[in-house]
Symmetry: C2
Subunit: 127 residues, 2 copies
């Protein structure tokens, strides 16, 4: 099961430790830059669309099984499958966002907590 | 970017062509069977939890860039990133479900359109 990057995130966020934990928590707008190979796949994305981005959180730890939720040492540890921790066996990020600009293969989105350079592996219409 | 299976789907659904297109469209209950290696990751899943399952739709086509939505030949073709087609560069399935049973590593869910044997690659709490 080999993922391919279909694009990457361009963002002012560069430090994962400083990034918001969820897009709704003060994340900045960002741009998803899709690779030309996927131009046809992206051709019907429109401003106003609500979409789900799947990213590969390449700075996360894959060997972590339990975490203190929200990095709060006072919070009891929980198994990562009962959290939204980036650290997990397959560090897939899941982000529901709104398209705010489309310029060829550059898709602007309203609020994204992924850092600059994060690989994008899928785009779906939200349901 | 290499995914590992953390478990698989057990379901009465065996034929992808006959499976509902979304979990809300008459999909049956199913069981997610997690691998023992991930017991700690799964330890806090509880009946009633709303979770997001990510699956690897291993029967999908990765070379498809445009589809007739809902397999309707009368529907205009759309780029797969503006659809929920299983056929896409990385055939990740996204399923929001409710946990209805927990028996060790066997997690019962209310309605799942993935077919029997589908690899599960991630479990997250829904937000």
């Amino acid at each position: 099961m080999q993922l391919v990057a279909v694009g990457h995130v361009e963002s002012a966020l560069t430090d994962p430790a400083a990034a918001p934990k969820q897009g709704t928590e003060g994340a900045p707008p960002a741009t998803v830059v899709l690779d030309p190979e996927y131009a046809d796949a992206a051709r019907d994305l429109r401003v106003g669309d609500r979409i789900v981005l799947l990213t590969w959180l390449d700075r996360a730890r894959r060997d972590v099984r339990v975490v203190h939720p929200r990095d709060d040492p006072a919070a009891p540890e929980r198994g990562v499958f009962a959290t939204r921790s980036a650290d997990r066996p397959n560090p897939l990020g899941l982000h529901e966002v709104t398209v705010v600009a489309v310029d060829g293969l550059r898709i602007g989105v309203d609020a994204l907590e992924a850092v600059d350079g994060t690989p994008v592996v899928d785009v779906k219409i939200a349901i």
